[in-house]
């Protein structure tokens, strides 16, 4: 039987896409708000594409992923202003996951990347009870 373990600063979190579905919320609407100006104007094209082939810049391996998500990750997230100093911390965490393709990260790693709140504070924020933007521990 699986055992529940209290999350720590080294527990991996990610954006749980099932959570968005269960909440009847569309993550794509949320993601479009983070598009850079250039990609926002081409959004209609992106929306029609559905999924695209993303090529790993180191291995050449191909991964199918949502066109919108892919654009955010490969273009918008590398532009200045993607995460601003005044972006709320929980949004910054969400955008960090978007930027890294939703690869799981621990509060300690999030702290290293964001350099804003201590890892313990990030942990408390993500485990206080309410699930923000679907960010949950990886099962």
């Amino acid at each position: 039987m699986a055992r529940w373990l209290r999350p720590t600063v080294d527990t991996k979190f990610h954006i749980d896409l099932e959570w968005w579905q269960k909440q009847n919320r569309d993550i794509r609407i949320y993601l479009t708000q983070s598009l850079c100006d250039e990609c926002r104007s081409a959004y209609a094209e992106l929306r029609d594409l559905g999924e695209v082939d993303w090529v790993d810049p180191e291995t050449g391996e191909v991964r199918r992923e949502d066109a919108l998500w892919s654009t955010l990750r490969t273009c918008c997230s590398s532009k200045p202003g993607y995460i601003k100093p005044n972006t709320p911390i929980i949004d910054s965490i969400f955008l960090t996951f978007v930027a890294n393709g939703n690869e799981p990260l621990s509060p300690r790693e999030l702290h290293e990347r964001l350099d804003r709140r201590p890892a313990e504070t990030i942990l408390r924020m993500l485990t206080a009870g309410q699930v923000y933007l679907g960010i949950r521990p990886v099962n």
Binding site: E45, L49, V52, D53, V55, E58, T59, V62, T71, T74
Partner: protein
């Protein structure tokens, strides 16, 4: 048509220095290697194995079947055999091709590859025009004979692999390291504090540094574990306990107790604080240069000069003892002296010193980075060795033992300058002393009666941020008044200045050359003209001609640049 084959990737510098990454399979192989025989491995050994493994994988992948290395820009067809150098030489067969879909990249294809030993297929980009790091592999061709062996590859590129492997192992909590040796944390015998207390007692009783192997002879630590594992665990535990000091080298730790180390080993004695070392580029007279070479102060040695090499039969070095070393019970480590001791990344070397005359033996220390050794204070007193004496050091069969001696002759009385303090100023009085050792009369200084008052003057000079020139202005007249003609020998000045100001001979002699108030009058002697203390000669020609001099006995001597920097 002549068939050409691509040079194996593992034969190229780009593979090891640019593209190499430690992969999970490498870590797994390292894990298995250590687990297999239950003993620690050096980073060198592990890095060699990783390189050999990569070479082997590539060689296997390049065997029959005409597999080609994967590159995103190439076109591939169904049925073609590929191998992936950047994925630890995985190999596989193309089983499908479809158009790629992403307007950001333009037209390209996606190939499906069935990887050997893996279920399912993995997709890779092909006909891919945008810049990609894997497209930058050089298409070097050439004969396959003359390939470098894994050993030769290690010689050339091993440093890059070692660094990458060290980084990967450091990030893996299953591995633990000690002095470039790696082991599995799960295999470590437990070393609890009781063992460390015993180790402390063992070293305390021995009174000299011990290796972990020597300490283990008296500890009943995990007898079921492999000897190397026990040594590793003990070294690791000693390293983490602040009672123990590793005085060995990275490959050969030797342990001693901080509380048994003499003060001069823990921190440089105050009397040896360096105020004026030679830096190269100083201008000084030819005669001064010769005198500086005779003195052979370690502070006059410039970085990058050659280390003398002795044959074991003639291994011998002599030093002229100056006042600071005499007071601190230390000895200078000139390059000539350093050549007597084992070389390596030592910060402190515990040694044994043997008196050649009496065969008595005691412990000393050599601090190569600090350029001094410690352990002769009692010997200087017992043998009545004054500052200015020449002390000889001889190699022995044991690289950690050095013999010390002074040329003994019949006791001879001498009028000697003895430093003392008057009105908070350094001054000198002439006293009669008798010595049996060989010494330089100009460098000779008698034992002060109140050394603590000299310490106060030395501290005062430092507090006041005196310059070397200001110190010379104070010391020179004190020496000049000891004789009838006001002559001061350069060696005597060097010896006297060093009572309160640790300096090499070169910086002192360079100040003499630069300032018009000092004039050379031959035989190493200088005179002082107080009215010219504000005049400085700025060119070598002026220093040589000394146009402001009023001395009729002035000698004209060539001025030379010290070291390579003019």
């Amino acid at each position: 048509m002549v068939a050409v084959r691509r040079t194996a990737q593992t034969q190229t510098e780009a593979y090891w220095r640019r593209d190499f990454k430690v992969r999970p399979e490498d870590i797994e192989a390292v894990y298995d290697r250590i687990l297999e025989d239950g003993q620690p491995r050096t980073l060198d050994e592990l890095a060699r194995e990783v390189m050999e493994r990569h070479c082997r994988r590539e060689a296997e992948a390049r065997e029959p079947g005409e597999a080609v290395p994967y590159r995103p820009r190439e076109h591939y067809s169904v049925g073609q055999q590929l191998y992936f150098p950047h994925l630890g030489y995985l190999s596989g067969q193309v089983v499908g091709v479809r158009p790629g879909q992403n307007p950001r990249y333009g037209d390209f294809t996606v190939i499906s590859v069935a990887i050997e030993g893996q279920e399912g297929v993995r997709e890779f980009a092909a006909d891919f025009a945008p810049p990609h790091i894997l497209n930058e592999y050089e298409e070097a061709t050439g004969p396959q004979d003359g390939q470098l062996s894994p050993e030769e590859l290690y010689e050339r590129y091993g440093d890059a692999v070692r660094n990458a492997l060290r980084e990967a192992l450091e990030q893996n909590s299953e591995f633990v390291s000690q002095d470039e040796q790696w082991f599995l944390r799960g295999l470590l015998p437990e070393v609890h504090v009781g063992y460390l207390n015993l180790a402390e007692a063992v070293i305390d009783v021995a009174g000299h540094p011990l290796s972990a192997e020597e300490i283990l002879q008296q500890l009943d630590l995990a007898p079921e574990a492999r000897p190397q594992a026990r040594v590793f665990a003990l070294n690791l535990a000693l390293e983490g306990d602040d009672r123990f000091d590793n005085v060995g080298t990275p490959g050969q730790p030797r342990w001693f107790l901080y509380n048994l180390e003499p003060q001069a080993v823990a921190a440089r004695p105050e009397v040896l604080y360096v105020q004026s070392p030679a830096r190269g580029g100083e201008w000084l007279h030819r005669e001064s240069l010769e005198i500086a070479q005779e003195i052979g102060d370690e502070l006059d040695e410039l970085p990058g000069e050659q280390v003398p090499v002795f044959s074991p039969e003639t291994g011998r070095a002599s030093v002229v003892l100056n006042f600071p070393h005499r007071q601190a019970g230390t000895f200078p480590l000139t390059r000539e002296m350093l050549a007597l001791f084992p070389s390596g990344e030592y910060t402190r070397i515990p040694i044994h010193i043997v008196d050649s005359r009496t065969d008595s033996r005691w412990m000393g220390w050599v601090l190569p980075e600090e350029r001094y050794g410690w352990g002769l204070g009692e010997w200087y007193r017992r043998e009545e060795i004054p500052a200015g004496a020449t002390v000889d050091f001889l190699m022995t069969r044991d690289p950690y033992t050095v013999a010390v001696q002074c040329d003994v002759r019949s006791r001879r009385s001498e009028w000697v300058r003895v430093p003392h303090v008057e009105n908070a100023r350094l001054t000198f009085e002439i006293r009669k002393r008798a010595y049996t050792c060989r010494y330089d009369r100009n460098l000779l200084l008698g034992e002060p009666l109140e050394p603590e008052r000299l310490d106060e003057v030395r501290r005062q000079y430092r507090r006041e941020n005196q310059s070397l020139f200001q110190v010379l202005l104070r010391v020179f007249p004190e020496l000049a008044k000891l004789g009838s003609q006001g002559l001061v020998h350069a060696k005597a000045l060097y010896a006297a200045v060093n009572v309160v100001w640790r300096s090499g001979a070169v910086p002192i002699f360079a100040e003499l050359a630069r300032h018009a108030c000092f004039d050379p009058v031959g035989d190493g002697n200088w005179v002082f003209d107080e009215s010219l203390t504000d005049v400085v000669y700025s060119t070598p020609e002026e220093m040589e001609a000394r146009p402001r001099s009023r001395r009729v006995d002035l000698i004209r001597d060539r001025v030379l640049c010290y070291g390579s920097r003019p």
